[in-house]
């Protein structure tokens, strides 16, 4: 395989809720990922885009080994992650970090920012004394442009943008090789979003960090990523360098996604327009201006009713 790859995923399948029931009945389970192949190079920014129910959050968590794979392989730096013992997993944990969608929920509300940031350092032996930890915290806070006073605050006393910076600092402090960023700017205002994205780009460049950037927002992915995977109902429908995928999308679904993004410019035809489709037929396009939206074929029923929340819980 490519010597430059940090993460290699082959035929990844994740099924939730399957297995034997209480009385030995076989439960069918919910097949969230249906054979995903994906690679992430060292220092590479990879976007994973998809709508709700696409399985993108599950894919991210599976990359970190937080969700068990039902089938398929995930290799991190050449080592297969399945079957690693807790002891073998511990050092890997430091090397792969995560930044969360909701910075409020991802920071323990009862801990101070100091404790949230320093505990991982002690856990992984990156700091042996309070003073050592404090030095690293100070440097990292400066790097993410947070004033030192935040250390004594608790998460709810910070603004959304500040909390997201704390989340980024927590991940970066462990000097990982890979960071998973799951919808991390979706709740932020555009001005804050720009700051956070620039910060991530800078950190990735300076630290040689590889990142998987999960988002529903193609514009955000285009701004920060080198390559993109388009995920739909647990399958990759398109993959490639951002320039190619955005400028010349091959799949109808990618085209539909791109077309649906409202750009801030006057375009009276946009509302009525539907992207040209190949005779795909899985996504019935709306017939013209008067036609209005079709409902996805599975719109009535459980499949399309999976919200990101349910997906997360599952």
């Amino acid at each position: 395989m490519n010597a430059g790859s940090l993460i290699e995923v082959e035929g990844l399948e994740v099924i939730y809720g399957g297995g034997k029931g209480l009385f030995g009945r076989q439960k069918p389970g919910n097949r969230v990922l249906k054979g995903v192949d994906l690679t992430i190079g060292r220092g590479e920014m990879v976007g994973i885009v998809g709508e709700s129910g696409s399985g993108k959050t599950t894919l991210g968590r599976a990359l970190l080994g937080l969700v068990p794979a039902t089938a398929g392989q995930i290799r991190f730096d050449g080592r297969a992650m399945s079957g690693l013992s807790k002891g073998e997993m511990r050092p890997l944990r430091r090397r792969m970090q995560m930044i969360f969608q909701d910075p409020m929920a991802s920071l323990n509300p009862r801990h101070s920012i100091r404790r949230i940031l320093s505990a991982p350092l002690f856990l992984h032996g990156l700091a042996r004394s309070e003073a050592e930890a404090e030095t690293q915290l100070a440097a990292m806070l400066a790097r993410v442009s947070l004033p030192p006073v935040v250390l004594d605050r608790s998460p709810h006393e910070l603004s959304g943008g500040q909390r997201q910076r704390v989340g980024i600092a927590r991940a970066a402090l462990l000097r990982p090789d890979f960071v998973l960023a799951d919808e991390i700017v979706s709740g932020l205002d555009v001005s804050t979003q720009a700051q956070v994205l620039n910060l991530l780009k800078g950190l990735s460049r300076d630290m040689g960090l590889a990142m998987a950037f999960i988002s529903h927002d193609l514009s955000v992915i285009r701004a920060v990523c080198d390559r993109v995977y388009v995920l739909r109902y647990g399958e990759i429908v398109e993959a490639g360098p951002c320039a190619r995928v955005f400028d010349n999308p091959q799949s109808d679904y990618t085209r539909l996604l791109i077309d649906a993004i409202p750009l801030p410019e006057i375009d009276p035809d946009w509302l009525g327009r539907t992207p040209p489709t190949a005779a795909d037929g899985t996504h019935r396009a709306a017939p013209g201006a008067g036609g209005g939206g079709s409902v996805l074929p599975s719109g009535f029923g459980r499949a399309a009713a999976i919200t990101p929340l349910q997906e997360k819980r599952a």
Binding site: L22, M89, R93, L107, A119, D152, H156, G161, R170
Partner: protein, 295 residues
């Protein structure tokens, strides 16, 4: 940058837990009352004007000091056996608080341990514990406690044991639900992603977030324990009838309600105020200890 100038402007809400608690009026009032009650219990021998057990039939059924026919020295009157009602009520505080603290403490300990285990580890542990709780809760609690005391024999230890055996389920259920709730939040996933072990996450991340609910539950349970003790005393299953307990006094007062209503009313008011204080403390703690609700 816009959001960087902010933290200086934000008033600090953190600080000593005690200081936070003192900003919640319910905690201050109810906590103050209960602290007073504790002092009364500790110094009952010094505070009580008379010996609570001393009988003097000549001085039976004396009314409180402000009514006609009162005798000096018996502020709240006497019962039919001539025992000082005030002194008996003050001594009754001892039993009430002993039961409240030990019974609530022990049921919290057992219930929380099982609730955390069920909620955090899930699987078989959860199935067994939850099933046990379901079965437990199918018994009517008052009947069960009467039955238990009847089996264990009457006495303070049996009363406490009965309350613990019945009420650990209350803690177990709530703590289990709260643990599951917390476990679903991203900060727990964050701790897993960082590499903390499950034990570490349970004690360092989840437990502090479950603590406010636990504190509230404990004070509510103390109120319940006081009532249960009173009920068992009332039906004569707690302590021997000459030991001063509120429940015993109420039972006695009920029989002589037409001759001396104060024998019933004084312990009833003490019981009412104490239980109300525990409940208000519980509600206040829940609000005051929640870092988000506190704002």
């Amino acid at each position: 940058m816009a959001d960087l100038s902010l933290p200086l402007a934000v008033p600090r809400h953190r600080g000593k837990t005690l200081r936070v608690l003192l900003t919640e009026p319910r905690v201050v009032l109810a906590g103050g009352f209960l602290a007073l009650l504790l002092l009364v219990a500790l110094f009952a021998p010094a505070l009580a004007p008379k010996d609570p057990l001393e009988q003097d039939l000549m001085l039976g059924t004396l009314p409180p000091a402000w009514l006609e026919g009162a005798e000096p020295g018996f502020l709240l009157g006497t019962d039919d056996l001539g025992r000082d009602v005030l002194s008996r009520a003050l001594y009754g505080t001892r039993i009430a608080l002993t039961v409240a603290v030990t019974a609530a403490g022990l049921s919290a300990l057992i219930g929380t341990a099982l609730g955390l285990a069920a909620g955090w580890y899930g699987g078989w542990a959860d199935r067994i514990i939850s099933r046990m709780v379901d079965i437990w809760m199918a018994f009517p609690p008052v009947l069960l406690s009467v039955l238990l005391v009847a089996v264990l024999g009457s006495g303070l230890h049996s009363v406490i044991a009965a309350i613990v055996i019945i009420d650990w389920t209350r803690f177990c259920r709530v703590i289990r639900a709260e643990t599951i709730n917390q476990a679903g939040l991203d900060y727990v996933t964050a701790a897993r992603a960082i590499g903390f072990s499950r034990r570490q996450i349970l004690f360092k991340e989840i437990l502090p977030n479950v603590a406010p609910v636990l504190a509230a539950l404990i004070s509510l349970e103390m109120g319940i324990a006081v009532i249960v003790e009173a009920i068992l005393s009332f039906v004569g299953l707690s302590l021997s009838s000459d030991t001063p307990t509120w429940g015993g006094m109420i039972a006695q007062g009920r029989q002589m309600i037409h001759q001396g209503w104060w024998v019933l009313v004084v312990p009833l008011l003490a019981l009412f105020a104490t239980v109300l204080a525990f409940n208000q403390l519980g509600n206040g703690l829940r609000v005051a200890l929640d870092p988000v609700m506190r704002r």
